[in-house]
């Protein structure tokens, strides 16, 4: 209880609605949502597809305007901001991790991580220095000069995480960040995200349809048909340990349907690593 008192509210959502018009019918993607997220918290938003969880994330990140309601992030009403102000808001406060990584294909790992820094007008030397630092943090020091298509999915997502972290944002949004990864990599990536966010006291909001992955989070928001049906506090490290053991033993995750066809062959993952070793020798 002591902890809750000391906590500072990062995101506050009040009575949030999003209604799409599909011809004559109105679809309530979000139907009156209220919650608060605190600084340094790792929250997961789960729900079946079409439940409105992605819509919620998009609105928190200022990518979509709500139909009704308030979103207050770090004391600022973002539902009232225009497109230009929203971009500035994202640039200064938000990091974003995508499901399909969305790295720029023509840029290598360092350049990709440095990209959001260039939007802030940081000089190139400084930018690249910071990018390298963050790539080391996610364990990709050997892949600095690799282009996205020379890396495995897990490595690409690590670049994506480094890119989100490089701007030192207050909040990081992740939209199905492990959706395209196999079970082993999923676990690594999630642990990495969890660890970094905890160390740096940043807020992480992750959307996933996989209840098991959500157990990595401090709190889990369950959303069905545009309404939050359940908020679950989750402080049981023991559960996590158990989950990891399940993954390591079988690698089969319950409820994982969408990602099963994306499962990467282990040989494919190891391939780029071999390439790096060869290239690494040249660079030194």
């Amino acid at each position: 209880m002591e902890e809750t008192k000391a906590r500072e509210t990062m995101i506050q959502v009040k009575d949030l609605y999003k209604i799409y018009k599909m011809g004559e019918t109105k679809v309530h993607a979000l139907d009156g949502v209220d919650f608060e997220i605190y600084r340094g918290e790792f929250c997961a938003i789960t729900g079946p597809s079409g439940s409105g969880k992605s819509t919620l994330l998009n609105m928190l990140a200022g990518l979509e305007h709500p139909t009704k309601g308030e979103i207050i992030i770090a004391g600022k009403h973002i539902e009232k901001l225009n497109e230009k102000q929203l971009v500035t808001f994202r640039r200064e406060r938000v990091g974003f991790i995508f499901q399909s990584y969305n790295l720029i294909a023509t840029m290598n790992a360092v350049e990709n991580v440095a990209l959001p820094l260039s939007f802030r007008g940081i000089p190139k030397v400084e930018r690249l220095k910071r990018a390298k630092q963050y790539l080391k943090l996610v364990g990709l020091e050997k892949f600095m000069k690799h282009l996205p298509n020379q890396m495995s999915g897990g490595q690409q997502q690590r670049v994506g995480i480094a890119r989100a972290l490089a701007v030192n944002p207050q909040i990081i949004f992740a939209d199905e960040p492990t959706g395209n990864l196999d079970s082993k990599t999923t676990m690594e990536v999630l642990k990495l995200m969890q660890k970094i966010v905890k160390e740096r006291n940043q807020t992480l909001v992750m959307v996933t349809h996989d209840n098991n992955l959500a157990t990595y989070a401090d709190r889990i928001f369950k959303i069905i048909d545009g309404k939050i049906v359940h908020i679950e506090e989750n402080h049981k490290e023991v559960d996590l340990m158990a989950l990891e053991q399940i993954y390591e033993a079988g690698g089969v995750i319950e409820n994982q349907t969408a990602t099963s066809d994306e499962t990467v062959d282990p040989e494919e993952i190891s391939e780029p690593e071999i390439m790096t070793e060869a290239e690494g020798g040249e660079e030194v």
Binding site: R91, P116, F119
Partner: protein, 436 residues
């Protein structure tokens, strides 16, 4: 975002699609080259026209005729006298005024004889004459020194046979520069006695062979002050032929000039000065007034040529817009990612504008290089044929045209890219989230 970072991103995007970029640039190259070549032809045409008129006489010069002899022979008002010269000199933009006194003389060397004009001009006018041999007359000499026109010798005829160059086709056997010749002034009509023969030193010859015409070819030029002194010596108190007389038939005690040249500081001011002189009641002519008309024509030709060139540039602009549009559709997702990551709207717009401008820049530069090549070929093979044998380049690319061409290509590129760039700016960042 820093400009250099924007530039790097834009150029890298262009490099990603080399073939398409190259094809679009090719369009701009053709557009730029067609405009530059067309305009260069227009400029060439215009400048050659000016050069042509300049060969008829200086373009800065106005010729003013006195008004006597046209029904007002006793009216002193129309006379061109020293006071009038001072009046002219006070008109704005007038640099100098040069009166001209002309008299008819007979020349004789051996068996050959000829009549010609003896023209007294100011020092400044003398200095304008291009000399082939010798020097200008010494202003301090107490005798009259002559500058002889290069075609004067051709007009001599044999006084025994009465046949000259025009009858026989042979050049008369006279050498006006090396051998001396006699000069006889006209009779006054009052004294019947024969005029004395004089021999004057020839100080110089007008440049050119006997066939090469220029405005000084047919006359003998002398310093006007020396001519005045000489005429006073020849005619004493008698009226000088060609000079007006008063009602009693007596000469005036001053010289009345036949015509005067007024020199203007700049070609563009000639017509203004000419109008001022006409308003003062004198007849004035200048090459400029003819050139003005000719220039109106060449301006029109230039506009038509430029218009033809502009059509292909317009087509090139459309192709830039098309390329940029395609590129934006392809990169919808990428643009969305940039927006989600916080790339400002202005930066996205500028990125595409720079991309389009860079296509223009590359096309403009290469197009200019191509223009120089085409221009050289045109000058080599078409130049003199187009302008009726007049020498000189028909296609001329002045430095300002080169600069303008590149700037224009960049501006056209950016204008063509403006609509696609704004479109890119307005794309939804949600495109980045969608997973295809």
């Amino acid at each position: 975002m820093r400009f250099f970072d924007l530039l790097t991103m834009s150029v890298n995007n262009l490099r990603r699609r080399k073939l398409r970029t190259a094809l679009t640039v090719l369009g701009v190259i053709i557009g730029t080259a067609s405009i530059v070549v067309m305009v260069s032809l227009g400029i060439g045409l215009k400048e050659m026209t000016v050069e042509q008129y300049a060969s008829y006489g200086s373009l800065n010069r106005i010729e003013v005729m006195s008004n006597y002899g046209w029904g007002s022979d006793s009216d002193e008002e129309g006379f061109l006298v020293d006071e009038t010269m001072e009046l002219f000199a006070q008109i704005p933009h007038v640099e100098s005024v040069s009166p001209t006194l002309q008299t008819y003389v007979t020349l004789k060397q051996g068996a050959y004889t000829s009549g010609t004009s003896l023209i007294g001009v100011s020092r400044a006018t003398l200095e304008e004459i291009e000399l082939g041999q010798g020097t200008l007359p010494n202003p301090n000499s107490n005798t009259m020194e002559l500058v002889v026109g290069n075609m004067v010798a051709r007009n001599f005829y044999n006084s025994k046979t009465g046949r000259g160059y025009w009858d026989t086709g042979e050049m008369p056997d006279v050498d006006l520069y090396n051998d001396s010749f006699f000069m006889t002034f006209q009779n006054t009509g009052m004294s019947d006695g024969k005029q004395k023969k004089y021999v004057f030193p020839v100080s110089g010859m007008v440049a050119g062979s006997a066939e090469e015409y220029n405005e000084h070819s047919y006359g003998i030029y002398v310093d006007i002050d020396q001519l005045k002194d000489q005429l006073k010596r020849v005619y004493k108190k008698n009226p000088i032929p060609g000079q007006p007389t008063n009602k009693k038939g007596k000469p005036y005690n001053y010289f009345v000039y036949d015509y005067a040249y007024v020199y203007v500081d700049d070609m563009d001011n000639v017509l203004e000065v000419q109008n001022a002189i006409t308003e003062m009641g004198y007849q004035a002519y200048s090459n400029m007034q003819w050139l003005e008309q000719a220039q109106e024509q060449t301006d029109m030709i230039q506009a038509v040529l430029g218009g033809i060139g502009a059509v292909s540039m317009f087509v090139a602009a459309i192709s830039i817009a098309n390329t940029m549009m395609m590129s934006i559709y392809e990169r919808t997702k990428e643009i969305g990612v940039l927006k989600v990551l916080g790339c400002s709207l202005g930066s996205i717009r500028n990125m595409f504008l720079i991309e389009a401008g860079f296509i223009g820049f590359m096309g403009g530069t290469a197009g200019l290089a191509l223009s120089y090549g085409i221009s050289k070929i045109v000058n080599q093979f078409l130049g003199s044929a187009l302008m009726g044998g007049q020498s000189g380049d028909i296609s001329r690319i002045p430095p300002w045209l080169s600069g303008m061409a590149i700037v224009f290509a960049i501006v056209i590129g950016m204008l063509a890219g403006l609509f696609p760039a704004i479109r890119a700016m307005k794309l939804s960042p949600l495109a980045a989230i969608r997973n295809e």
